[in-house]
Symmetry: C2
Subunit: 224 residues, 2 copies
DNA sequence: ATTGACACGAATGTCAACAATTATGTAGTC
DNA sequence: GACTACATAATTGTTGACATTCGTGTCAAT
């Protein structure tokens, strides 16, 4: 955390990590001055960070009130996975058409990292790498639009997962990623679509989206 | 343009208008100081405006280089409409389930404005109102996620439309919006989905997405 | 005792000057 | 004459101080 040039992305990542590790709970207030002290940067930069985090849906900024860690409700969680599915379908579609050997190599390389993290039992790294795998797919699809929106959705997915995961939930293992790579390489568009769909469905099915209760901190938002 | 309290949204809208009216062509550079003079605001605020415009995909910001009006290629244009379709399908789905009489009234009221603008032949207002109709649907669907993403896509749609519209293109008339309202109210989910699909397809079909040439100003982006 | 208003404190929002980076024009050399 | 190196000008990026807004605690009045 003691980096020489604390980049905006760096700080975002650290905050994201804290949320995934449950060190920061949804609803927590994030004071600008506080953050600027912790990270040793100017408040202006903290402001940029919060803007990015808001765009990714990790925090909600209320004018003249401050920034809070978001508390997406079950409906929003479902929307996130619905959209992810639709976008990643499109990504896969394009990848099947234009994938190169070099692309395959990058995917294989990433998969290796995922397997290593799993073997070591490093859960945080696993979650992070899993998300990055999906972002890598979008990158290779060469669509800045899909990439940009998916970025926000993947980040949101982590938050949703933290909030609604069942206790006995196991990690989204890299096995299905292996499958995806193979089927994309084979050029089977329909199969690839199916594979992506079930992969994302598996992740969503691991969640418990039945609860619709409103957290206590949401109260003042309820009354607008 | 001489507003007393030039809001960020206000300025964004004005710039958006200028692009739709072809007063600002894709690739045009937007200097911060220049903008701050024109709108009579501080450069810091211009910076916020540009950030929002970048998020909506209207401008591309290159570090230490400046901001330019985006030039989405045909592929991106297709992605925009693909995503819009998927998102608005979801919006319609939710609306059919939870629409209220009050909601219908708001839609009817908006439709009236659209018809008035069309009758007056006010093309700019027509384009603007048409986009707002779709945003209103998302608002009524009560999903901040769908709303936020759709916002960016609708704005991008305008830009894409300006760039790729055929000469003889006629406006996206309010007739199909009328149809949509009726079928949503009827509760026919399948029909509503179909209606939204064809509506968006009509808009996309009015475009000529065959050209794949790179505009001259993109050159330096090509070489990374 | 409860409620209302007022004032104080703290956090956010805004701005203008300063620093860093990039583009441009000029001179010098081969 | 063309190409490189340097100096200058223009533009973006950053910082710290100032203004504004909102929450909180106190006090008085009913």
């Amino acid at each position: 955390m003691e980096k020489r040039k604390p980049d905006v992305a760096q700080i975002c990542q650290t905050i994201w990590q804290s949320i995934v590790e449950k060190k920061l709970r949804p609803g927590t207030r994030l004071k600008e001055e506080q953050l600027s002290e912790v990270f040793g940067v100017s408040r202006a930069r903290v402001r940029q960070v919060l803007a990015v985090l808001q765009r990714d849906g990790l925090v909600s900024i209320i004018p003249n009130r401050g920034a809070f860690v978001s508390e997406p409700d079950a409906d929003e969680a479902r929307d996130v996975f619905y959209l992810r599915t639709k976008i990643e379908e499109r990504v896969v579609e394009r990848l099947v058409e234009r994938i190169s050997e070099q692309d395959i190599n990058r995917l294989e390389g990433h998969l290796k990292k995922e397997l290593a993290a799993q073997a070591k039992g490093d859960r945080l790294a696993s979650v992070k790498l899993s998300g990055e795998f999906h972002m890598l797919l979008a990158t290779l699809a060469e669509s800045t639009l899909l990439h940009g929106i998916l970025q926000a959705l993947v980040v949101r997915s982590s938050l949703v997962t933290v909030m609604y995961r069942r206790e006995e939930m196991h990690d989204c293992g890299p096995d299905e990623h292996r499958e995806l790579i193979d089927i994309i390489r084979s050029g089977d568009k329909k199969g690839a679509l199916q594979c992506m769909q079930t992969h994302l469905k598996h992740i969503e099915d691991e969640l418990d989206l039945s609860q619709n209760d409103v957290s206590s901190r949401d109260l003042w938002q309820v009354f607008k």
